[in-house]
Symmetry: D2
Subunit: 363 residues, 4 copies
């Protein structure tokens, strides 16, 4: 048995602390060895909960440490570019939380650097944290759509709801950049094609969003092959975290993420009337707990195997490019075309794996 | 077009008033002409709500009236024998609410009288109000079980819950006689066989039933062909009216009556957590509204056609015989054999239609 | 009891024959007395199936006959204007199948004539056959949305699928005019507002539609108050008739029309793997059987009562105006504004009842 | 970080091979070091698939090896007693697949030995493989029942179906001993009480079971507090693996394991009619994959922590005692009382943890 992979986690907010706990307690063939956060007290506190884990306020110290074999980036998006490039320079595999970077230009720089590193180190080093590809329901949906039995995929209908978002400094564009981007990756993953245009519509907003915030939003994607994707994103739905996807193909449709799955109970409601039903997940950690576990385990396994799996730097770049176009559409109300660089013009080996179901078809 | 069937309703409690409204407003080719109830004020009040309907305190006056073509009996069970026999004497078709009578002996007397009347008038005159046979889900279930695709039926699992029952004078035996009797008819309808033995088990009762009342009860039926039926009857479930049936056959199973059918909503529960779900029917009138409508329309249609449809006097007798055995089992805890008279020893034409799906296969 | 309403049916294709059967067999306080169809043989054949029903090849003969109290129009849309106007001239209540007429101008003429007739006869005479308003699930959805508990309605997501349509002479616009028009009425019914703009998108079509037919289509409605409605209409889905609606409000969502309602079974699929599930309705008659029954009964009841209920001529006009704009949008790909006449400029009493749930709140 | 727990697996049939794979690939803080099986070729073949894993034909060699810290027993039930006792003698934690042993006497010997070992080594060493306690749905069900909101638990309804069993040498008693025993543990886990009596009923069997095999069976448990449990066990259902549990409490009910959870699709069935639905799990490995993963991880974690978690030797003994009574009832058709030794008469510390939800409340 090969020794456990020594992993460092950069950024120990909610997501990073969750990944640290996952690596320390639930991931086979890996061990958590270090954490980094500009808030050194927070980093130290987290490290102290695990035997033999050290902390630092300097992400680059962790990334370049000889005691760290691979890195999970759960830092804010605006420092991703610098940190991913540092990992590439050090030849270290990195699992980078979405978004890859804040705009298409910087994401494209990461793609170029990753191609050079792939040539130099003989393996792809970047996996982007679009964890839904590892969710058993999304993986199953992709398998059904690609096995051919239902014919060509024609439409997707996505619903993405959060109970609420913090009001301070929240802006309408963040719905596109931070929430809708998951639907962009889902569309690319399920169609196996790029998104070529996006239109973001602004309904009369809920009175329960912050003043001036357009919520919900309805976004329409056009896929390269002519498929259409409708998306509802509603981040102040009050109710809970609901992520649902229906694919419509030539000879049938498939729905995943119905709230009505799982246990249900009957009981007397407060109105005095009998009710049946169940609970809606509170947030993404509850809904996608298994997906995150499988994502991190698959990443650790792929590092051991010297292969790569899951969303690549290209996938991160393409999603960011659609978000960027989406933010322009939100402002104008018009349909905006997405311009991606031609991948064949990039040097180095292709790592464009958005067609691959990572759990089934590692590139 | 033949003239509308002139119908009188005997007994105008909840059930009778419901039938009167149904005949007056929602039944084709019928008209409500008279109502009878010992409580003459109540009868008069109901009559006044409909043009041209008269009332009486004397059920026999209504039954024998020349202005009444056919009778719906929604009176208490202990007067059914006398009233059904009066209908038979008058040669008038009667739809008698369940139970047919209060014990097997009296039910058998009705069966004998009905056979004589059938010979005399050339048609069967009695339909018993086991309305579930007309419920689209039960009818569909029977159709699936009898089309042969799933092989022989092996087991049924029935659940029958009421939110609550009036506590005054309620006794444990009434659960067997008034509630479980519906499951008896369902078992006979779906298996197309008689129930040959019954065992009623007494769990530790809910603290929310009246003192001394055994609720819930679990009853086990053995069918003539060896099939087994498990039944839960729980009349103080607090929640609502839930009637569910699962049939298990050699090559598959079918469930009807799931509470999770129909519309559902998501919303924030009072606990502050997101919920999905829907409402449980409050009572039998909500759950079986369509079944009652179809039952009464089918009865009216069959009277016009001079045929009969739905549960017969024999079906009423057989169900009562099982209930009677069930009450003995409730008292002793032991399995009790059901003794039915041999139908071939009865004079007159057979009207044993429990094999027939009334909506599909009028006898 | 008042005498039965004598109803004539114009047009005895699938829909008309269905209505004739309904009036003859399942509608209280009505009788079928006559049928008309240019195909006199077909009309005669239908009449012969019912006692005392006469037939004619001339719709106007039926409409003006003294033996006909009220008329159901199930003729093709292009003769609706003439026939509705004839009913109005004769002062006869008419239930007109959708669409009211083929374009907004002719529908507006009907609205104007209906207002004059309302003044002359003291009652509204036209009900348009948007039967979904009588479907128990849609009625329940509207009740939930209007009771205020979920706050303001923000979005609707409609899905409308047919297994297939006849290929001969089928054109893409017919999806807008004949299918999407139901979603238009649903949007108006649930929001209680007019549709002010429509955009119809053309995905890459299924290979199973006729050459040149754009199927599926995705349509976006903007409501007067800023709400947005997404619609999928797919008339060659192969599978069956699926009509689903999800409403998203400020504090919750509601879904109706899930295929997963009702009975389900488990069995061994042909692949040799175990399956659970149920059947999808084959067509609109199966899915909306109860809605049609309730619609026709409510119409008959309203005629007896001298009131009106359900969708009015205005509702028919407004829906047609949106369809007309939708066909323009299908051609151009652009968002098209819907121009309705200002109802306050119309003479006569308002009969604009699209806010009313007909089953609960007769106008 | 403490070194990984070195685990040996005894028995490498389907279950053992599954556990070996789990320990090697998906369990944190553990490593697979050795496998034993009387079929040495099979053991060697399995070992060769993992780096650094050795194999032996002698289970006792593995159990006593200094290189093995803890043992998973997936050998046949009739060698469990000897092997568990060997683990206890060696002071090694053991996860023993169910059944603990083949009859109550031998299980009781294990309980006594385990109590002595607990005193000697200062920790409980035996966990029995009732993996359902770790299934998220069963754990959630127990949490709901014990939080008090629904009042006292009154009834359980369990359904347990397998697609088929091998016919060779299959006997009716194996349904009780190998399948129903899971329901016994579920009843004890959810009620937190012992089963005091069992009755096993013999319906007319499916024609698809082997000659002479009684399948399905219906078993009734009486709990110490008077609760009643109905159980269907059907091991030749043809369809798939269905395990469902409904708990009925004083103020509500809860259902888990509905086949209708998860993704569903619509498509055209082979009959040419539209279908909706999904797939039924093929077997227990698919249905309980997560439960097994959580069970083994929790066991490894508890060994690291020096605590114990999950079903104890007592739980294994109690379940075996009920099975033994159940086999007697199957033969006689009568209700059979379960006689357990009084736990207070046993020497040593109590390890009776059937009240504990292992994932939430480690004892």
């Amino acid at each position: 048995m090969s020794p456990a992979l020594r992993v460092g986690v950069v950024g120990v907010g909610i997501m990073g602390a969750d990944h640290a706990e996952r690596l320390a307690r639930r991931t086979a063939r890996a061990e958590l060895v270090a954490v980094a956060d500009p808030d050194e007290v927070r980093a130290k506190e987290l490290a102290s909960r695990h035997d033999g884990v050290w902390s630092t306020g300097d992400a680059l110290e962790l990334i370049t440490s000889d005691e760290v074999d691979a890195v999970v980036l759960a830092s804010p998006g605006f420092v991703h570019e610098e940190q991913v490039l540092a990992c590439l320079a050090a030849g270290k595999p990195v699992l980078c939380e979405k978004p890859l970077t804040m705009d298409s230009e910087s994401s494209l720089r990461v793609v170029r650097a990753e191609r050079e590193a792939t040539e130099r180190f003989g393996r792809s080093l970047v996996q982007v944290g679009f964890m839904r590809r590892f969710d058993p329901e999304y993986a199953r949906l992709r398998a059904v759509l690609t096995d051919g039995s239902l014919g060509r995929t024609l439409l997707l209908h996505n619903v993405h709801r959060n109970a609420s978002v913090p009001n301070a400094d929240f802006r309408s564009e963040m719905i596109v950049r931070d929430s809708l981007v998951h639907e962009v990756d889902v569309a690319r993953f399920l169609f196996g094609e790029e998104v070529v245009a996006i239109q973001v519509l602004s309904p009369a907003p809920t009175s329960l969003a912050a003043e001036g915030v357009i919520d919900p939003q309805v976004a329409i994607f056009t896929m390269a092959g002519g498929g259409i994707v409708t998306n509802e994103v509603f981040v102040n739905s009050q109710v809970g975290y609901e992520v649902r996807c229906e694919a419509v193909a030539e000879r049938g449709s498939v729905v995943i993420g119905r709230p009505s799955s799982g246990a249900y109970s009957t009981s007397l409601g407060t109105s005095g009337a009998g009710q049946w039903g169940g609970s809606v997940p509170a947030d993404y950690r509850e809904r996608f707990a298994t997906a995150y576990d499988l994502e991190v385990q698959a990443w650790v396994d792929s590092v051991h195997a010297g292969t790569s799996v899951g969303p690549t730097a290209w996938d991160g770049y393409a999603a960011t490019a659609v978000s960027t176009a989406g933010m322009a559409s939100l402002a104008s109300g018009e349909r905006v075309t997405v311009d991606l660089v031609d991948p064949s013009t990039l040097a180095g080996p292709t790592t464009q794996t958005h067609h691959a179901s990572s759990t089934k078809e590692p590139s």
